[in-house]
Amino acid sequence: MLTKRIIPCLDVKAGRVVKGVNFVGLRDAGDPVELSDRYNRDGADELVFLDITASSDRREIMIDVVERTARKIFIPLTVGGGIRGVPDARKILTAGADKVSVNTAAVERPALLTELSNEFGAQATVIALDARRSGPSRWNVFTYGGRRDTGIDAVQWAEEAEARGAGEILLTSMDSDGTQRGFDCNLTRAVSEATKIPIIASGGGGDPRDFVEVLTQGRADAGLAASIFHYGTYTSNGLKRILAAEGIPVRLLED
């Protein structure tokens, strides 16, 4: 049976992990390669790197981070942030990433999704969708790291992204993000029911119950989080043990 995935996310700025990191026993908690290694050994099913480096000349640093990570860690790696075309994506994938995620560039030029999908396959093409509630059962798509309201309906954009070739949706609720008070299950379910590609729910996961809820009622295929792993509240495997006890199919580490 296909298992539900637990995915730690690392925000990387100029080659360093940002957001609080509170691990015991790490030489350098800000190093994405070292942290990835830790998450991998702790039972992560995949990893996501979001490059939040502002200036484009630092992009090469991310390529180096991806190369060093891929040499050491043999689980899938998605990289997003600043990818505007096939050449950008090719650099990331050639460095050893398995998927690229695109957000603003795809909203502004949806054909990008088709280009990536035709070139690298739908399985390597992730649409990152940041959404904020704008009414009852309605969410708007935001771009530029959540700074710009496009006015576009999130469910409609998810459908279009799928039609244009995206193979997976990384769906972040901006209302929930950073709160650790639970995912937006209504948003996740609305997007999941409107599409036929896997959904990664993001934003608000702080407690195992949140993950149980979004993976069942929310109909998500995967749950992504940052803080609970960074702060060491749970490991991926520890979290998955709790999910397993709730009857959710997960891959547990072998003893």
Partner: protein, 200 residues
């Protein structure tokens, strides 16, 4: 030496990294000459079936691949490199390598595709490729098309089930090994599978 065949579209880096971690030397090749010199051949593939088969024809290696496989060279096909061993696919009109009979099929319309994530294998018998692994190990899949279990028949080394469809996840036939999943992305289980191929 093991040759990893590069047809231009697949992301080879993960396979290179995984072999390097096994301590196994390898060469990247993209022509018939390279295939003829290899002791073992790995054919990784991601993306689109039609594009892959067209690329193999542009590189002029279809005949050499078939010859090397027929003459007993250990061969490992990964993902599309597995599907390419069959005659046809619902994904594209291009003819496959036709090492085995049958057609690659798309998961039913009501299924969420790609199948993306970790799924468990059900070993069939005692395949060499899956030696020293748990009875139902988890491996990483990313596929929308599959080889039906009936098509693989007795060559199936492992089956897997997704959304009610039972499909062939691994195949073994003398010197020919092939997997629908990605051993290079399947953690220690995947590393063991690659090591099993290396010593076969």
């Amino acid at each position: 030496m093991i040759a990893i065949f590069d047809y231009g579209a697949g992301n080879l880096r993960s396979v290179e990294n995984a072999l390097a971690a096994c301590g196994e030397p390898f060469a990247i090749v993209n022509d018939s000459d390279g295939l003829r010199k290899a002791d073992k051949i790995i054919l990784p593939g991601v993306g689109h079936y039609g594009q892959m088969l067209r690329s193999l024809d542009v590189l002029g290696v279809r005949g050499t691949l078939r010859e090397r496989i027929a003459s007993g060279t250990p061969f490992l096909g990964i993902c599309l490199g597995f599907q390419a061993l069959f005659e046809t696919s619902e994904e594209a009109p291009e003819r496959g390598l036709a090492v085995f009979p049958g057609r690659v099929t798309r998961f039913p319309a009501d299924t969420r595709v790609p199948q993306m994530g970790w799924n468990s294998l059900q070993k069939q018998g005692r395949p060499r490729l899956l030696d020293a692994l748990a009875e139902e190990p988890y491996v990483y899949f990313a596929n929308s098309y599959y080889v039906p279990r009936e098509t693989a028949g007795r060559r199936a080394a492992a089956l897997c089930s997704y959304s009610g469809t039972s499909f062939c996840a691994a195949l073994e036939d003398d010197n020919v090994f092939a997997v629908q999943f990605h051993p290079e992305k399947s953690g220690p289980v995947g590393q063991q599978i690659l090591r099993n191929f290396i010593v076969c």
